[in-house]
């Protein structure tokens, strides 16, 4: 595991690409067999699936109340076990809305924002990394400098200035998260291209007269995929946390729509009195989902590590 975002380690991703084109069938089969032996992998998959299910099918789930229905007589009902009833298993908020329903409703915005942001960052970052790595020279220098500057001006800072200038909105949050993570993909993409550039089959197809664009698409991209998926999962965890932080500060989704970060912001006046459950459960939802994503990424990394380790143990020259 280690860092959710690790900026110093471009070699990390570069090491995982094989020189030979991947045989996706065997890789998938091995991933699956590895998964069943990994508690982290299983827990990660289960948590992430529940998250996606809540986000996609939330309103149609049975027994789930209307997340926007207010009921002032029921306000600040405690959860079951603290004097509450099964009518509101996790209690109600300051306006009497059902917390469980609002949590399920909030999953949608978290998923939407974080996944969109990571996709934008991955596409943008990878393309820039491929271009930088393949073209080299001035273009490479320019892109690498841009990534370095971005490192000094990350996340929330860029968010503050953009929100101040344009006002809060979900799209702005997506853009801010994307621009604070593209360079991670650029570094990995670039590093990987550098290692692959010298490998034989690229040289061979250059000799055979294939255009450089075709070389990029046909030969280099498939090798990127496995490292990029691992990285996407890692960045997804960071993106969900960022989204919740922006929502908490009031920069993202605006009421009456709901998000986990926003629930914490709205519930914070009740933390020391009667209503600790609002903040507690909303935060727990974020923490569990991020934990699930992190477990998934831990498992993906350990899969790579195991493959590497076996190579070291069993293929050391001379024994």
């Amino acid at each position: 595991m280690t860092a959710v975002e690790n900026p110093m380690d471009p070699a990390d991703g570069a090491g995982t690409g094989d020189a030979a084109p991947p045989e996706s069938v065997t890789v998938m089969a091995e991933l699956r067999s590895h998964l069943w032996k990994s508690k982290a992998g299983i827990s990660g998959i289960v948590i992430c699936s529940l998250f996606v299910l809540a986000a996609v099918a939330g309103p149609w789930l049975p027994l789930i109340k209307d997340p926007t229905k207010q009921s002032l007589p029921d306000r600040l009902t405690p959860p079951v076990g603290w004097g509450g009833t099964w009518a509101h298993p996790l209690g109600t908020d300051q306006l009497g809305r059902d917390i469980l329903a609002r949590l399920i409703d909030g999953a949608r915005i978290s998923l939407l924002v974080s996944v969109t942001a990571v996709i934008i960052a991955a596409v943008l970052g990878t393309v820039l990394g491929l271009i930088a790595g393949y073209m080299g020279g001035k273009i490479d220098t320019l892109i690498v400098s841009a990534a370095d500057v971005q490192m000094a001006f990350p996340g929330v800072l860029a968010g503050l200035i953009l929100v101040a200038a344009f006002g809060p909105s979900v799209w702005l949050v997506i853009i801010v998260i994307a621009i604070s993570s593209w360079m991670v993909f650029t570094r990995v993409g670039r590093g990987l291209v550098f290692t692959l550039k010298t490998s034989l089959y690229v040289e061979a197809s250059e000799l055979a007269g294939a255009s450089s664009r075709r070389i990029m698409w046909r030969h280099l991209l498939p090798n990127l995929v496995s490292s990029l998926i691992t990285l996407c999962v890692l960045e997804l965890a960071a993106a969900i946390l960022s989204e919740s932080a922006f929502a908490f500060l009031g920069f993202g989704v605006q009421p009456p729509r709901s998000s986990w970060g926003l629930m914490i912001q709205q519930g914070r006046n009740y933390v020391t009195g009667d209503g600790w459950w609002i903040v507690t459960f909303a935060g727990m939802a974020i923490a569990i989902v991020v934990l699930g994503v992190n477990l998934l990424s831990l498992w993906l990394q350990s899969f790579n590590d195991v493959a590497e380790r076996e190579q070291i143990v069993l293929e050391r020259p001379g024994g």
Binding site: T2, V4, D148, L160, L249, I264, V290, L291, L295
Partner: protein, 306 residues
């Protein structure tokens, strides 16, 4: 060393220049402080007169030159809402933020390093798994939620320390932990990984095959290589604190720092003040990176001279 240092300082200044210029583009080209300060339904005349009052009707190049020359002498413009120099407001708040970062860094290093060593020492044993569990939990929980949990349990229920505000050392404890736990989790894993990797390297194996103990080898053979990475990683955590954690945690604990100043300024539609806060925080990030580079250079003279 001096030549290298001069180069690094120039490079750092260059980054500050680029970042502040980007900020200027956002605040003056895409929009302007006058427009932001007025409600959406304000009339054209109101806008024009306020633009004139703030000097925003001058050519952009003149405004940019003003902005840059102000930057050099520490003039970051005037807060529209509070009618005071923005730099004064920001620098009044900076010590509080620095205290918070110092406290959080202390938590990070004092928890992260020992946990990482412990985990490496007992690789694949219970302690290792326990540290991994702590790390996974701490990096998965949003820091502001950790903050509220600490408030609920330690401040409100147990009443050991004050809940909000910044009165004395005791009030620094909870926010420092709220920020530092995640950083400590990451640092512990990085330290563990670094030591374990070094211990597998042939030179460490050779040392152990000559009868040196695991602990002796960790301290006398692998320490230098791990130390460099440790400093880099700690520096990276500090930059994260300046650019994210402090902003959120200052809001949670009503901590009178630069981050909360910026968030309040956003709701006051005070673009100049936000800009000043962001420029100062970004400068802190660049300074941190510079210090990390110098520290790494002192630890390991092989750090490249580029």
């Amino acid at each position: 060393m001096l030549r290298w240092l001069a180069k690094r300082i120039i490079a750092a200044a260059l980054v500050v220049f680029v970042v502040t210029s980007l900020v200027f583009v956002v605040t003056h080209v895409f929009t302007d402080p006058a427009t932001v300060s007025l409600p959406l339904e304000a009339s054209q005349e109101d806008r024009a007169s306020r633009r004139a009052a703030l000097g925003l009707d001058r050519p952009l190049s003149v405004q940019y030159w003003d902005f840059l020359s102000g930057l050099v002498v520490g003039d970051l413009g005037e807060s529209f809402f509070q009618t005071q120099p923005a730099s004064k407001l920001v620098f009044e708040r900076l010590p509080a933020t620095l205290r918070l970062v110092a406290g959080a860094t202390a938590v990070t290093v004092l928890m992260g390093a020992p946990m990482g060593m412990l985990a490496a020492w007992w690789e694949r044993r219970f302690a290792d798994h326990a540290v991994l569990g702590f790390s996974m939990a701490s990096i998965s929980a949003p820091p502001f939620w950790i903050g509220y949990l600490l408030i609920i349990v330690i401040a409100a229920q147990l009443r050991w320390v004050p809940t909000f505000g910044s009165s004395g050392f005791k009030s620094l404890i909870l926010p420092s932990f709220a920020i530092g736990l995640a950083s400590a989790g990451r640092l512990a894993q990085m330290t563990r990984r670094g030591i374990v990797e070094e211990l597998r390297k042939p030179y460490a194996v050779t040392a152990m095959s000559r009868g040196f103990s695991r602990s002796y080898t960790i301290v006398h053979h692998t320490f230098r290589n791990v130390a460099s990475g440790f400093v880099t990683m700690t520096g990276w955590e500090v930059t994260r604190m300046f650019t994210g954690y402090t902003v959120v945690i200052e809001v949670v604990f009503s901590w009178p720092g630069v981050g909360r100043l910026a968030v309040d300024a956003i709701f006051d539609r005070d673009l100049i003040l936000v800009q000043a806060a962001v420029v100062v925080l970004a400068t802190m990030v660049v300074l941190t990176n510079l210090l990390v580079d110098i520290a790494r250079r002192l630890i390991d003279p092989r750090v490249d001279l580029a």
